[in-house]
C-alpha cells in the first residue's frame, strides 16, 4: 500500500510541476482598472468596521457622504463616483487580501481613505508597484511620506508634526514644568514622541504602552509620584479615555494634551467626565464648529449618511473624498491613473477641511499644519495662537 501511495504521489507531483512550468507566463498581467470606461469611477477602501478599532472605520461614512454630495452635483469629470468599502478588522493580513479583491476582482480606480498604519503599511508598496493610486490614507506614519512613492498621496500631517505641535505649545505656555509622555509603542506613537522631543527638548518621563493594556494605575501613580505637571498622550481613543479616567480617580490633575485621534468622537464628553480643560492637537475643525468647511461636511452627512454622526473619523473620509475629487476634477476622457496622479501633483495650497495641502512631483506632503483645541463646557474650542506649521514646503 505504501508503494502505491508513493507512486501516485510521485505522479501527482510531476504532473503539478509540469503544469506550473507550463503556466509560467500566466498571471503576469498589470493591475486592471487603469483606465475608466463606462460612466462610473469606482473607488476602493478598507476600514475596520468590527473589532476594537471599529470607531475609526466611521470614515467610510464620511467618504460615502462626500460621494453622495458630489454625485448630486452631477459627478466629477462627467462621471459618477461609487465606493466599495471592506471591513479588514484592522488586520494587515485581511487588508492584503481585501485590497487584492478591490484591485483585481472589483477593478477599482484607486484605493482611497484606507484606515490604519499597520494595515496600509501592508499594502502600500504592492499598490505603488502595481501603479494603483493610494490616496489619503488614515495615517500620518512617516513611511507614506518617503520620496519615490509616485502613487501614494498622504493627506494627514505627518505624525511628527503632531508631536511638534504639542511640544511647541508646551514650550510656550508651560516652560520649565516637569513633563511626561505616554505613548503607544508603535509607528503611531513613536513618531509623535520624536516630534515632541524635537520641539520641546527633553521629556522627564516616557511611558510606552500597548493598546491591549486596560489598567494604567501604575503609570498614573508613577507620574503623580514624580511630580509631573504636564502629560502628553500619544494614544488611541480607548486608552486615552482610560488614562484620563484613572487620573481623575486618583485625584491627579496635571495639564493634559491628547492627540487628534483620541478626541473628536461623539460621546467623548460622556466617556470622560473630567475632560474639561484638556487640550487636543487637531488638523480639523472641532465637531460642531461654525467653520463653513465643517458645516458643509455636517450637512452632507445628515443628507447622505443619515444615522452616522459627523465626528472626526467621518471627517477623515470627507477629506479623502476632497483630495480624490481634486485629482479628478479637471481631467478629460480618457481618465487614467497616470493622469490622475499627474493632476494631484499640480495641487498647491489646495484647501481642504484639514487645511492646505501641497503635492509636487518630488514631494507628496499632506496637510501642513496642526493646532490645539481645548475642552470647555462640553465642547471643543480652538486655542488661539496654537497653530504649528510643520511643512517642508512652506
Amino acid at each position: 500500500m505504501k508503494t502505491r501511495i508513493f507512486r501516485s504521489a510521485a505522479r501527482a507531483s510531476i504532473g503539478i510541476a509540469c503544469l506550473s512550468l507550463a503556466c509560467s507566463s500566466w498571471g503576469q498581467s498589470a493591475a486592471p482598472g487603469a483606465t475608466i470606461d463606462g460612466d462610473t469611477i469606482v473607488l476602493g477602501q478598507t476600514a475596520a468596521q468590527s473589532g476594537p478599532q471599529a470607531p475609526i472605520g466611521a470614515s467610510k461614512w464620511g467618504l460615502e457622504a462626500f460621494i453622495g454630495y458630489v454625485n448630486a452635483k452631477g459627478g466629477v469629470a462627467g462621471k459618477k463616483l461609487r465606493l466599495i468599502s471592506y471591513d479588514d478588522s484592522y488586520q494587515p493580513a485581511q487588508t492584503t487580501a481585501l485590497d487584492k479583491k478591490l484591485v483585481y476582482e472589483d477593478r477599482v480606480f484607486a484605493i482611497v481613505g484606507s484606515i490604519g498604519s499597520p494595515t496600509t503599511a501592508a499594502v502600500y508598496k504592492t499598490l505603488n508597484d502595481a501603479k494603483v493610486p493610494l490616496v489619503s490614507m488614515g495615517s500620518g506614519s512617516p513611511i507614506f511620506y518617503e520620496p519615490g512613492l509616485k502613487y501614494v498621496f498622504p493627506s494627514w500631517p505627518i505624525y511628527t508634526t503632531d508631536g511638534e505641535t504639542m511640544g511647541a505649545f508646551v514650550k510656550k505656555h508651560f516652560a520649565g514644568q516637569p513633563v511626561a509622555v505616554i505613548y503607544q509603542d508603535d509607528g503611531f506613537g513613536k513618531p509623535i514622541l520624536a516630534g515632541i522631543k524635537k520641539s520641546l527638548g527633553k521629556v522627564d518621563v516616557e511611558i510606552p504602552y500597548v493598546p491591549s493594556q486596560v489598567d494604567f494605575s501604575s503609570a498614573v501613580i508613577k507620574l503623580k509620584a514624580s511630580g509631573i505637571k504636564v502629560v502628553m498622550l500619544a494614544t488611541i481613543a480607548t486608552s486615552g479615555a482610560q488614562i484620563l479616567n484613572q487620573m481623575a480617580s486618583l485625584a491627579y490633575a496635571p495639564t493634559r494634551i491628547l492627540t487628534s485621534s483620541a478626541c473628536g468622537y461623539g460621546g467623548i464628553f460622556d466617556a470622560i467626565k473630567s475632560l474639561d480643560g484638556t487640550y487636543c492637537t487637531a488638523f480639523l475643525p472641532p465637531p460642531g464648529s461654525s467653520d463653513p468647511k465643517w458645516k458643509e461636511f455636517a450637512d452632507a452627512m445628515a443628507k447622505y449618511a443619515p444615522g452616522h454622526p459627523p465626528d472626526i473619523y467621518a471627517a477623515w473620509g470627507w477629506l479623502a473624498g476632497q483630495v480624490t475629487y481634486a485629482g479628478l476634477e479637471k481631467l478629460k476622457a480618457p481618465i487614467t491613473r497616470d493622469a490622475f496622479v499627474a493632476q494631484l501633483e499640480t495641487l498647491r495650497d489646495f484647501d481642504t477641511i484639514a487645511g492646505k495641502i501641497n503635492y509636487s512631483a518630488q514631494r507628496h506632503e499632506g496637510s501642513c499644519c496642526q493646532l490645539l483645541w481645548q475642552a470647555k463646557g462640553g465642547k471643543w474650542d480652538i486655542v488661539p495662537d496654537s497653530g504649528f506649521n510643520g511643512s517642508a514646503m512652506k
Binding site: G15, Y86, D88, V103, Y104, P118, A122, S141
Partner: protein, 325 residues
C-alpha cells in the same frame, strides 16, 4: 479519507489555475485566496498532528507560524534568502523554539498546557512588536520577490503551485508518519499515557517530538505565507489567529488530515466572505463555528466518514475525553 478521492481533489486543485485563466486578471485575487487556504491548511494539519494525534493542546500555534514567517522575512530582506531556504530555516527555528513549550508540556496536562501555549503565542506577538530593530515593529517587513532555487516564483500562479505542493507534501508526511512506529506511539499516548508508558513508549520524549514536528510544519507554513503576502507584521499572528487555528482543527475534526484541511478552508472562506459584509464579520464567523460544532460535534470529518460508519454502536469506552462517566 479514501485515496482516490484525495487524488481527485489534488488533481482538481492543480487544474484550477487553468480554469481561472478564463476570468482574466480577476484570477490574481482568487489564486491568492486559494493559496492562503493551502497555507492555513498546512498550519491546521500541523496543529492536528499535535492535538488530534497526541492529545496535546496548543492555543498559541500562531506563534510558531510567526517565528517561521519572521525568520524567512528577515533573512530575505537582509540577505535575499530564497523560498525553500526560508521554509527550512523557518521550520527549524520554530521547531527549536517549540522545545520551550515541549518540556513543560511533558509535565502539564490539558488546560494547563493550553494556557501556557496561549502565553507562548502572546509572548511571540509582543516580542515581535517590541524588538523593532529586528522585526520592524508594527511597520512590519516587506519581502523581495520570492525565488525558488533560482527560479522566479513571484507570480500568483507559481506561488499557488508552491503552496499546493507544500500542502500535498505535508499531508503525505503526516500520513506516513502515522504509519510508522512513532505514529503508533503518538496514538498510544493519546489514548492513555500510562498504558503507553507501560508498553515501553518513551512518553516524554515522544510528546516533545510531536511538538517539534508540529512546530516545524507550522513554521514552514509561516515562511510560505510571508512570501505569498510579501509582508509580515505582528498583527498577522496574534491571539485571534491562534484561536482560529484551534477552531479550524476542531471544526474539521481532530485526528483527520482531511478534516484539518477541510476545517481550515471552511473557516478561512467564511472569514473572507464575512469581511465583505460590513461590521458583521466577527458575529458571522462566531455564529458559523457554533453552528458547525452543534451539528457536527465530531467535526466536519464526519461528512467524509459517513459512508464508512459501521453499524456498531459507540461503546462507552470510546473517547476518553467524553463527559459522562
Amino acid at each position: 479519507m479514501p485515496q482516490r478521492a484525495a487524488l481527485v481533489l489534488v488533481a482538481l486543485c492543480a487544474l484550477l489555475p487553468l480554469a481561472l485563466q478564463t476570468i482574466g486578471e480577476r484570477q490574481v485575487y482568487w489564486l491568492f485566496v486559494v493559496s492562503e487556504f493551502f497555507v492555513f491548511a498546512i498550519v491546521a494539519v500541523s496543529l492536528d498532528l499535535l492535538m488530534g494525534r497526541t492529545g496535546q493542546i496548543s492555543l498559541g500555534h500562531a506563534g510558531f507560524v510567526a517565528l517561521g514567517a519572521y525568520s524567512a522575512a528577515i533573512l530575505n530582506q537582509r540577505f535575499g534568502l530564497d523560498l525553500l531556504a526560508g521554509m527550512v530555516v523557518g521550520g527549524v527555528l520554530a521547531g527549536v523554539a517549540s522545545l520551550v513549550l515541549g518540556f513543560p508540556a511533558t509535565r502539564l496536562r490539558g488546560h494547563y498546557l493550553g494556557i501556557v501555549t496561549l502565553g507562548f503565542g502572546i509572548a511571540v506577538d509582543q516580542i515581535a512588536l517590541k524588538w523593532d530593530s529586528l522585526t520592524g515593529g508594527d511597520q512590519g517587513i516587506h519581502l523581495h520577490r520570492p525565488m525558488l532555487l533560482g527560479l522566479d516564483v513571484g507570480t500568483p500562479v507559481r506561488m499557488y503551485y508552491v503552496a499546493l505542493i507544500a500542502l500535498v507534501v505535508t499531508a503525505l508526511l503526516v500520513y506516513c508518519l502515522g504509519q510508522t512506529r512513532i505514529g503508533r506511539a503518538f496514538a498510544a499516548i493519546k489514548d492513555s499515557e500510562i498504558a503507553a508508558a507501560a508498553m515501553g513508549v518513551p512518553v516524554a520524549r515522544t510528546k516533545v517530538l510531536a511538538f517539534i514536528c508540529s512546530a516545524f510544519l507550522a513554521g514552514a507554513a509561516g515562511a510560505i505565507y510571508a512570501f505569498l503576502a510579501g509582508f509580515v507584521a505582528p498583527e498577522n499572528f496574534g491571539i485571534e489567529s491562534s484561536l482560529l487555528f484551534f477552531a479550524m482543527v476542531v471544526v474539521g475534526g481532530m485526528g483527520s488530515i482531511g478534516g484539518a484541511i477541510g476545517g481550515a478552508v471552511v473557516v478561512d472562506a467564511v472569514k473572507n466572505a464575512a469581511a465583505t459584509v460590513s461590521g458583521l464579520s466577527l458575529a458571522i464567523l462566531g455564529g458559523m463555528i457554533v453552528l458547525v460544532v452543534l451539528f457536527f460535534p465530531g467535526g466536519l470529518k464526519a461528512l467524509l466518514q459517513r459512508r464508512r460508519r459501521a453499524a456498531a454502536p459507540v461503546s462507552g469506552l470510546d473517547g476518553v475525553a467524553r463527559q459522562d462517566a
